[in-house]
Assembly symmetry: C2
């Protein structure tokens, strides 16, 4: 067999099998009858055995053809499927996005955003990997993931980042004296033990400065990495915390009250992605959707970070 099998020949073959007629097959394929005749002739030549028997006006496939029929059909179906999928890809309805995020986001805000995003995109799948910021950074650098949600990001030449400052609020258990205030200052917290983020974090430094400026001593109760942990502790009646409004919202009506904190502090999130790897269109679309989802929580431009 010197000639290669051509896809068009197989299409013609299947169409003729289906209709038992070259003419009808040609009609289905939308081409002239002689075109199909030749495709079949060439295919028969290539394969080395005859494809059809004439039987009272109809064409019936030979047993040899019958033997190949299933495989041929599978090829044609697969080609159709590839076309469909790539169609979906261009319409941003298919693809895969690998997301690395802070543990809090994996359970808190992100799932809702993903659910909404996938609603109109049935072919899209997503991987979520929660971990510490250091690890997220590594993953961006060696391009293991398409998109990262992190904080405390200081910039890196291999990582493209969009920073978003979200508002923070003061939270405390139901029944706490602060309940009576409509907003809370450092001064109001003089007698409270505070649950806050790690001392080396940017956010803690801002918080400490606020206390110093208010001539108030900051008394530590618990030092934690995650806002969610702080919220959890407060909801169990323990102490007071300053956390991102994003996290706090999930805990109101769960034994926690929230009030704006003054001076307004913001918490800087970084939406990151590998800089040299061209992101897929669907990834960019998701990052944009995620950024939008944070807008309601975004701090004013001029707020200190």
């Amino acid at each position: 067999m010197k000639q290669k099998l051509r896809l068009r020949q197989l299409e013609a073959l299947m169409a003729v099998i289906q209709h038992s007629s070259v003419t009808r097959a040609a009609k289905e394929l939308g081409v002239s009858q002689p075109a199909v005749s030749r495709l079949l002739a060439d295919l028969g030549q290539t394969l080395g055995f005859s494809l059809f028997d004439r039987r009272g006006g109809r064409l019936v496939p030979t047993q040899e053809v019958h033997f190949l029929q299933a495989d041929i059909q599978r090829v044609l179906d697969l080609m159709d499927q590839i076309e469909e999928v790539s169609q979906s890809i261009t319409e941003r309805k298919a693809g895969h996005i690998r997301i690395a995020c802070l543990p809090g986001f994996a359970t808190n805000h992100l799932p809702a955003v993903i659910a909404q995003f996938l609603k109109d995109r049935p072919g899209v799948s997503i991987t979520i990997e929660p971990d510490r910021p250091e690890r997220i950074l590594e993953w961006m650098i060696d391009e293991q993931f398409d998109f990262g949600i992190t904080d405390g990001f200081r910039g890196h030449s291999a990582v493209f980042s969009t920073d978003i400052d979200v508002r923070t609020v003061c939270i405390f258990p139901d029944g706490h004296p602060l309940e009576k205030l409509s907003e809370v200052t450092a001064h109001d917290l003089a007698n409270d033990k505070i649950i806050h983020t790690r001392r080396d974090s940017e956010f803690f430094k801002n918080l400490a400065t606020a206390f110093v400026d208010a001539d108030t001593v900051l008394t530590t109760l618990v030092e934690t990495r995650q806002f969610t942990a702080a919220c959890e502790l407060v909801s169990h009646g323990l102490g007071v915390a300053i956390v991102s409004e994003l996290d706090a919202l999930k805990f109101v009506d769960r034994g926690v009250q929230a009030r704006p904190f003054l001076p307004a502090l913001s918490h800087r999130l970084s939406l990151v992605r590998p800089i040299s790897k061209q992101p897929s269109a669907i990834t960019l679309e998701f990052i944009s959707a995620f950024a939008s989802s944070l807008e309601p929580f975004q701090a004013l431009e001029n707020a200190p970070t």
Copy 2:
């Protein structure tokens, strides 16, 4: 997407993915580099998204392509497989043969012939369906089977048949007085009860004539359809039978002795196939192989049937 996906484009895509280079891919495909460049350009155009990112001299597939890669590979593999199989078909190494045969052949002679036939034809598969001659005939007429082995066949306009007359022998249990003879005549059987085929069978008529001609009475012990059953009975020490040498051979050394019977009677087998359905080459090859396998048992041309 107005343009259709072409197989050649997918081949080019996979080759470039594999080698991370258009030039090397072109070398593998055995064409010039610009040819591959264009195939990729056209494919990218058709699909609607870019296929590769440049990354320090190498080409890495975009995530979109990665998403399709498995399916594309499957299509190419399937095409290769189809080529291989059809190659096997033309070399008569693949295909399927449906055989309808007398019950005796299903267990007796046929298996050995099939085993030999399949030895050099790994892709060939065979269906064996044992049944009565009437049913075999029906199956030929409506083309449910490719090949039939039957007897008592009277001809039919929808069935093509090749008749083969096989020798018959007289068989009897070890220790029987006939043991002393080197050949047996009807006269020698005057005092024996005979196991023979059905009275309406052609072969019985010939046998009866031989007895009449020898002025001997034929005493029936058992009337059976199959030679194998007759052999089985004889091997249990019961009576005497005239059966085809083909069947008899399987029972010598199992308590049965065989001697030529005079006058020489033959048993007519018919190798049949549907007349209007063009048989596959592999079927014809098998029929021919089967006919050859009967040669050692074939009666002389001029023997009465």
